[in-house]
Amino acid sequence: MSTTNGHVIEARNISRVFPMSAGPVTAVADVSLEIRPGDHIAIRGPSGCGKSTLLHMLGCVEPPTAGTLLFRGDDVTKLSDRQRSLLRLRQIGFVFQRFFLLPMLTAAENVELPQSEANVPKAERRQRTQELLEYVGLAARAAHRPSELSGGEMQRVAIARALANNPGLLLADEPTGELDRATGEQIASLLDRVNADGTALVIVTHDPALAERSTRILSMRDGRIESELTSA
């Protein structure tokens, strides 16, 4: 029987080892972490320290090779690929450094796509898409394709897409990595707002300014959490 203890995610001693021809490589080693609703967490550390791998495990993209990962009390390692896909679709949002918007779809269609996959009725998803585009300040650009948007606008559409199915957890991997300082600041503010509205947020970033907006900052090195700073 699953118990949630109010946690969105509970990771107990999770590791991720990649088998390589030259020998196994441990990307994440023995990490324990709890994410509660409304948490604002930043994960930082040098390149190759395992930040993105940890984020992908927390996002149920790849299961840990050791340890226990519970999402709202359910053991992720015991879910099938299909079940993990459904869990990501309905409960987790992803924001990528390179946005990965579909270039042949308009901004509105990109936001509508995950809802369509989740079988949200057409009228309802139209309404939700409109609301989300207004939320990220892009209602006027709904009919524009990604090629007609700036980098900041594309990332805002990507955030709207990540929020499409109203997830409890939003994961962002270097969300400002491809943006200039001013635009990055706007995206950081938008993510703060998303978090303030109740969505737990985990950001992987190299940017100290972005990390310092979080209430918990996890520093990683060599696949382990070296330290955790908590602010009020």
Binding site: D81, F100, L113
Partner: protein, 398 residues
């Protein structure tokens, strides 16, 4: 947006690539369609031709084709005996010879000369103008080519010199009256053919060939069927060979027509292989260009089945679009190729190499569907095995 809509948008995103794919499939599909038409075309066409003559049995002296084997002796009596069988409606004895119609130039016109004997029977030709000849009178019917080259018309009088053996003969010409213009089913496009009664043909050949025929053509009673008539004739005349239309077609299929089927089978396999390779390459390139997007969609919760469906639908759209275009293209190509092949000497004008049947369309559809599935297998494998996290990492690093 469902998988088909998504696939459509993916294709429209790169219209040049999609158009190339569709046109490639259209070209390959047109060839495939033509190979299917060719594989059965001659057999279907020959069957239709045999059935249109109004006779469904052929009786010959040996296993050889009519006109290529020994003659049937006492052909008139034998055709009459066959005509009296309860399973038989009518029977005619038919003799093939040659004749020079002395008109249309100093050397005359060389023709195939047919002599027919049989009472109350339909002749295996269609009268276009004038009337059929009357038995016992020196009358002939001639085909359009003969009429055009000799300037003869119904009512014209003409001299002709017959030749019923392979040896050179210098027989005196015999006068005939043209009773009508007829269409002969086995005429080649430029063939010149004339016909009269068997006794009149014998007269034109010097009077010694009055009761021999190359073939006795038999029409079975409607209720009895060809197989009953075959049995009855075989019992009545055990020294002769009886062949129904269906058996004749089977012989054609086992004989020379086999080559067409073999050629079309080989070319079908080759064209299908090209189609599979073409679509596989296009889809693989397309998928490889979008690995990051696909990995992102998977991370966002799109199932493996859904992204597989997207790729498969792209294959279906390319093959479907190309397949639709392939039908008119294939039809036009078949008409052109048929015209070329019909220039082979001796091919009857009513025989076609490329013949459409509804089953051809079904097989075409089936083969193209199989092509779409097989062509999508490799790109689907790429999508299915795509490591989401590693791909997202690689895309950022790249």
């Amino acid at each position: 947006m469902n998988a088909m809509g998504f696939a459509w948008r993916s294709l429209v995103r790169q219209p040049a690539r999609a158009s190339l794919g569709v046109l490639g499939v259209a070209a390959v599909g047109a060839l495939l369609f033509d190979m299917l038409l060719l594989s059965q075309g001659l057999v279907i066409s020959m069957r239709g031709l045999l059935e249109r003559t109004g006779f469904d049995l052929r009786v010959t002296a040996t296993d050889a084709l009519p006109g290529q084997g020994p003659l049937i002796p006492n052909a008139i009596e034998r055709s009459q005996a066959i005509a009296h069988l309860p399973s038989v409606r009518s029977a005619i004895a038919l003799r093939f010879a040659n004749a020079v119609v002395l008109a249309g130039g100093p050397r005359g016109v060389y023709t195939t000369f047919q002599g027919v004997a049989g009472t109350g029977a339909v002749h295996p030709w269609t009268i276009l103008r004038g009337r059929d000849f009357t038995s016992g009178r020196p009358e002939i019917v001639i085909n359009e080519n003969t009429a055009a080259r000799t300037q003869l018309a119904p009512g014209s009088r003409v001299m002709l010199r017959g030749s019923c053996t392979d040896q050179a003969q210098a027989l005196p010409p015999v006068p005939f009256i043209v009773s009508g213009i007829a269409q002969f089913p086995f005429d080649s496009p430029n063939g010149t053919t004339i016909a009269t009664s068997l006794p009149m043909l014998a007269t034109a050949c010097g009077g010694n060939e009055s009761n021999e025929a190359d073939v006795i053509m038999v029409a079975s009673q409607e209720g009895a069927g060809a197989s009953a008539a075959v049995s009855d004739v075989a019992r009545l005349l055990p020294d002769l060979h009886v062949l129904s239309n269906a058996e004749a077609v089977n012989r054609f299929e086992r004989g020379g027509f086999t080559y067409f089927r073999q050629i079309s089978t080989v070319l079908t396999a080759v064209t299908l292989s090209f189609a599979v390779l073409l679509i596989t390459v296009l889809l693989t390139v397309s998928v490889n260009q979008r690995l990051g997007e696909i990995a992102a969609l998977r991370a966002l919760g799109f199932s493996r089945g859904r992204v597989v469906a997207d790729v498969f639908c792209e294959s279906v759209l390319i093959v479907g679009g190309g397949g639709l275009l392939s039908l008119p293209a294939g039809a036009l190509l078949a008409i052109g190729l048929d015209r070329i092949l019909k220039r082979i000497p001796g091919i009857p004008a009513d025989v076609h190499f490329f013949v459409f049947e509804p089953s051809t369309l079904q097989i075409h559809l089936l083969l193209l569907s199989a092509t779409a599935i097989v062509a999508a297998l490799y790109p689907i494998r790429i999508v299915t095995r795509l490591p989401i996290a590693a791909t997202l990492r690689d895309e950022v690093v790249g």
